[in-house]
């Protein structure tokens, strides 16, 4: 595989579970500073694709390159250290810790055992936590136990935890699931702000939301890419209307 200028280059990627190909010979490039939305019917392999990129699932064949570093054989935590952040579909936060601690633990220092023992929560960390907390609208909830937050706030907190790590590639799996209309608007604004200086991949079903945020849309179907391009073009594509959008 040749090197590219893309932030993320997925080429000929395949993963099969007992013969069933959840991702089938898929090729996908994500630009630096791009916000890409992946849509598609259930079972299209969207979440599996993110799993493969972050390392939760191992690829059967093909290559995933991030900034021209091959990822397919790399351990999960090392991929994160390269600059890949991933938000899970259900908010995955530490319910028993405070919002502050949730963000503090995500700060990318003291990641080894002895590093963690020696880690000091200094002014730099506090300032960073404060900055991220205001970004995600939880600045006044720092001392709250994370489990007591509303569903939408939990989603934001998880995004905030990823932002603490300054990832260059951010992958968000259904970030507005279960959010109210107002929360969706805020999330859309948040996504627009945070996609500066980094590539973002979002999986989403809500077409209005997709229209609002997407630079480019990729439609997946049965582990393959069905269509790719700007929202208007994709929406007009008869194949996409057939399998996903409906008539």
């Amino acid at each position: 595989m040749s090197n590219t200028d893309f932030a993320l280059a997925v080429e000929d990627l395949t993963v099969s579970f007992d013969g069933f190909k959840a991702i089938d010979d898929l090729t996908l490039y994500i630009d630096r500073n791009e916000l890409r939305v992946i849509i598609g019917p259930n079972g299209a392999g969207k979440t599996t694709l993110l799993d493969l990129i972050c390392g939760k699932t191992r690829a059967s064949a093909g290559s995933i390159k991030f900034k021209n570093t091959e990822l397919t054989r790399m351990a999960e935590h090392k991929r994160v250290r390269l600059g890949i952040g991933r938000k899970f579909q259900t908010p995955s936060i530490y319910e028993n810790l405070s919002v502050f601690q949730n963000l503090e633990v995500s700060f990318p220092k003291g990641r080894s055992v002895f590093g963690a023992l020696a880690f000091k929560c200094d002014d730099e960390v506090k300032a960073k936590v404060q900055a991220i907390a205001s970004e995600i609208g939880l600045a006044d909830r720092l001392d709250t136990e994370a489990g007591l937050l509303s569903h939408g706030q939990k989603q934001w907190l998880e995004i905030g935890m990823l932002l603490m790590q300054e990832p260059e590639l951010l992958m968000l799996d259904e970030p507005i699931a279960g959010m109210s209309a107002r929360e969706r608007e805020l999330t859309a604004d948040l996504l627009k702000r945070i996609c500066q200086n980094r590539a973002v991949i979002v999986i989403e079903h809500d077409m209005a939301f997709v229209k609002q945020i997407a630079h480019k849309v990729t439609v997946m179907h049965q582990g393959k890419i069905l269509a790719e391009g700007p929202m208007e073009k994709v929406q007009a594509d008869p194949k996409v209307i057939d399998v996903y959008l409906g008539h």
Partner: protein, 401 residues
């Protein structure tokens, strides 16, 4: 002054001070040396319980094989003491003088290479900590790197405990077999069986225990402690935040193993022998019970758990030797069902709020003395005082976590 106050609060030293007061002043003054020596023996189990708080309470990994590490530490100490007790003059009637008696009985004519490091005290003391940690590292590295956890890990630790017992009993010539190592007398010529030596050893034991608790407290308040709690909650989130989760578990497991080893060594010193009956599955599970009864999130609670259960064990087994095991099981089931967080949980959730509300009521009563002798509001049914402690004044730390 403020710094002291802040660190007392940060490390929750209040409850620890109370424990030190109890162990270092109250008990030695109120018990005779025989009973105090027994307490010292119970405290050696507390090392294991404190380690379990870290592994099980904080790390969320239940180990049913902590007796192994207790045993290795104990054997390391006992082997040194045994060698010292087997000098050529005392053992001159053996066919090979200068080796431990059980080797002579098993037709071994030369000290095995395994025993050579235990001729040196510093080396033995180092091995008391390092040998359990090495085994713990081996087991936990192999398991946690493969992401074996939960009940599977517990079963594997049980298997390790069983294997160790079989090995110790089977290799009679090298380990003393089922009798273990008996007749331990002196440490560098200092007779450990005298009353004064027992006092000294008791205080050494208390001192080491306090240091262990402080070490664990420090780990808990560091980022590593927060990470352990985070891992227990959402392991994948920690992993995908750039941490190698298995390393943290391995560290905690090794820490607990090292502490258990120290406990074992203190056991060998205070009790004067070491045998496989402290290594196997049953003692390992008992140690988990100490921790569960005390409260698996509380270091200090685990010490109380070890003390109370063992005191109960001595008391009941003196009166009802046959019933004891059933009582023990009932205790474990009862505690985990009624108070999942153990005694420390009862303290934190029941006694402290009750005490606070009572103080509040008293203060209010003092502010406006009623004209008529108002009927004193019946205090909410006081929970039975499960702890032997006087109630703490407000703000002097707690036993929680």
């Amino acid at each position: 002054m403020n710094f002291i106050k802040a660190s007392v609060q940060r490390y929750q030293l209040g409850s620890l001070l109370l424990l030190v007061l109890l162990l270092a002043v109250v008990l030695p003054l109120s018990l005779d040396i025989f009973r105090l020596n027994l307490v010292g023996k119970y405290l050696t189990y507390a090392f294991v319980a404190v380690g379990l708080v870290m592994v099980w309470g904080y790390g969320g990994v239940l180990s049913l094989g902590q007796g192994v590490f207790f045993g290795i530490g104990g054997y390391a100490m006992a082997m040194f003491l045994k060698l010292e007790a087997s000098d050529p003059i005392t053992t001159k009637i053996q066919s090979t003088p200068g080796i431990p008696d059980f080797m002579d009985w098993n037709q071994i004519t030369e000290l095995p290479a395994l025993w050579l490091p235990f001729k040196s005290l510093p080396l033995s003391l180092a091995l008391v900590v390092l040998a359990p940690m090495a085994l713990a590292w081996l087991v936990s590295f192999a398991m946690f790197k493969r992401r074996v956890g939960g009940v599977y890990f517990a079963i594997i630790t049980q298997a390790v405990a069983l294997i160790c017992t079989v090995l110790i009993i089977g290799q009679q010539g090298y380990t003393g077999g089922v009798n273990g190592m008996t007749d331990l007398k002196t440490l560098l010529g200092w007779d450990t069986r005298t009353d004064s030596a027992k006092y000294v050893l008791y205080y050494v034991c208390v001192g080491l225990l306090v240091l262990s608790i402080l070490l664990c407290r420090w780990v808990q308040t560091s980022k590593l402690g927060t990470l352990l709690l985070a891992m227990r909650d959402k392991e994948d989130r920690v992993r995908f935040s750039g941490y190698d989760v298995s390393n943290f578990k391995v560290f905690t497991f090794c820490l607990a193993a090292g502490l258990s080893g120290i406990g074992g060594a203190m056991f060998a010193l205070q009790v004067g022998f070491m045998s496989p009956s402290f290594v196997g599955i049953v003692p390992s599970i008992e140690m988990v019970i100490f921790c569960a009864v005390g409260g698996r999130m509380s270091l200090v609670g685990a010490v109380y758990g070890a003390l109370l259960v063992n005191a109960g064990k001595t008391l009941f087994s003196e009166s009802f030797p046959d019933l004891w095991l059933f009582l023990m099981a009932a205790l474990f089931i009862g505690v985990t069902m009624a108070f999942p967080m153990g005694l420390a949980g009862v303290w934190e959730e029941k006694i402290r709020p009750w005490w606070k509300s009572r103080r509040q009521a008293l203060r209010e009563a003092a502010v406006k003395p009623p004209a008529t002798p108002a009927p004193i509001a019946p205090a909410a049914t006081p929970p039975e005082p499960t702890l032997t402690e006087p109630t703490l004044p407000d703000g002097v730390g707690s036993q929680r976590a």
